[in-house]
Subunit: 255 residues, 2 copies
């Protein structure tokens, strides 16, 4: 039987999702809990890797195991054993034939940043600091250029190869909010898939354009040259918000 775990983590103290020798990763911490629950080694598969320092609110993790534990109770079994920085929000039986990684239809990421006269201890764990105050209108205009199907070769870091760099961005919104200590910005992006570091590069370019840099997105989409674009934003601002399989997987709390 295949089960799915709706998983949230504070990525600060993890070396990303994937198991690596000698490193604290989300996969290794969760597989340790699984071993304790089921009494044997159980392999966990995520909807996709997240990098060191990247957070998740709605990562989906799958496991194949034979157990008498009711599916909805699995979350409690994991949460009793997991450390405070990773928790299972909900657990369920996987729909027939669903593969946690290959069946993904859409993913939504949030990138958060802020502008302020100093680093913000109460906010900086989950957001990157900007050196200038970006213009929302310019960011939104530039964001429109990314919508739809494009070859996003320029929006990819070296290191992971996918067969194709064509992806479709289904929605992209930019928001800002005034805070006591400065201004907070968020870029929310939904797509049918993302290349390695794509959201962090894309957010970096939008912030750069917002801060007055000439818009280089159209050209980068044509040339595919990473060097056309701003630098990759730090991982702390990134949250994997939602994984969509085109079928209902979890209950009310998924939303």
């Amino acid at each position: 039987m295949r089960y799915l775990l709706l998983t949230t983590y504070d990525g600060t103290c993890f070396s990303g999702w994937q198991r690596q020798p000698g490193k604290r990763t989300v996969q290794s911490v969760m597989e340790e809990a699984a071993r304790e629950i089921f009494g044997s080694d159980v392999r966990l598969t995520a909807s996709g890797r997240t990098d060191a320092g990247v957070h998740a609110l709605g990562q989906v993790v799958g496991l194949d195991v034979a157990t008498g534990i009711p599916p909805e109770k699995l979350s409690f079994c994991f949460n009793r054993l997991l450390p405070p920085d990773v928790k299972v929000r909900e657990s369920a039986v996987a729909p027939e034939g669903l593969d946690p990684s290959r069946s993904v239809k859409q993913k939504t990421y949030l990138y958060r940043a802020y502008h302020s006269p100093c680093e913000q201890p109460l906010f900086g764990r989950f957001a990157a600091r900007l050196s200038a105050e970006p213009d929302l209108f310019r960011m939104r205009e530039a964001g429109k250029l990314l919508l739809g199907e494009h070859d996003f070769a320029a929006f990819r870091s070296a290191g992971f190869s996918s067969k194709t760099s064509v992806r479709t961005i289904l929605s992209l919104t930019v928001e800002a909010a005034e805070r006591e200590w400065g201004k907070e910005y968020s870029v929310s992006v939904t797509g049918n898939g993302f290349l390695y570091n794509m959201v962090r590069i894309l957010a970096g370019e939008l912030f750069a354009v917002g801060c007055g840099k000439e818009e280089r997105i159209s050209r980068a989409l044509e040339t595919g040259a990473r060097s056309e674009l701003a630098k990759t934003m730090p991982p702390c601002g990134l949250v994997l918000m939602k994984v969509d399989y085109g079928v209902p997987v979890f209950g009310a709390k998924e939303r």
Copy 2:
């Protein structure tokens, strides 16, 4: 010359404000930075102590020192040396005769909590988890009983003695917001002063009333018995938001 530092910290890894042998406290970390900046021991005074685990967005810290550094540049000098979990938002010369602790006219605290099927790694660092979902209307009605001048003897933990336990609560608001993972609650309270643990006891009682407990505030204000009230909430949900001296101290960013 007396200077004031508008200070923010994530209290998670501090044993509170006050210097204690062998403990990492905000005062000791900031006094270390001060020693490096001024080349001699400088005593720092806060508007008041905060407990272990309690956060601050607007703590005010004073120091008496002779220096050629322009007052508004002091914040940069500190921030270069301070760790990421404590920063100085702004620095200024203190108004004539202002004592960082004794001249306080009002303070504002925020207490944050949430209700959710599991612990929330992306939110729980700065909020306490509730075991049930409180009713906002009941919390607000109970909150009205606390407004004005009262003897808050029942809303004080043993350990610190103040001459009088009479305090005035000037405003108290309760808010809630829906999140993807559950519901977030906040209690914001402004008063002319607070007893030891007063905000954490007061918030705990409001949440208890909201979750269906019979209202015991009126009786507790009469009897002064701590035992009438719900348990003290954990420190992680508490933030010292603002210290008001009745005169402008910092610039625009203070708000």
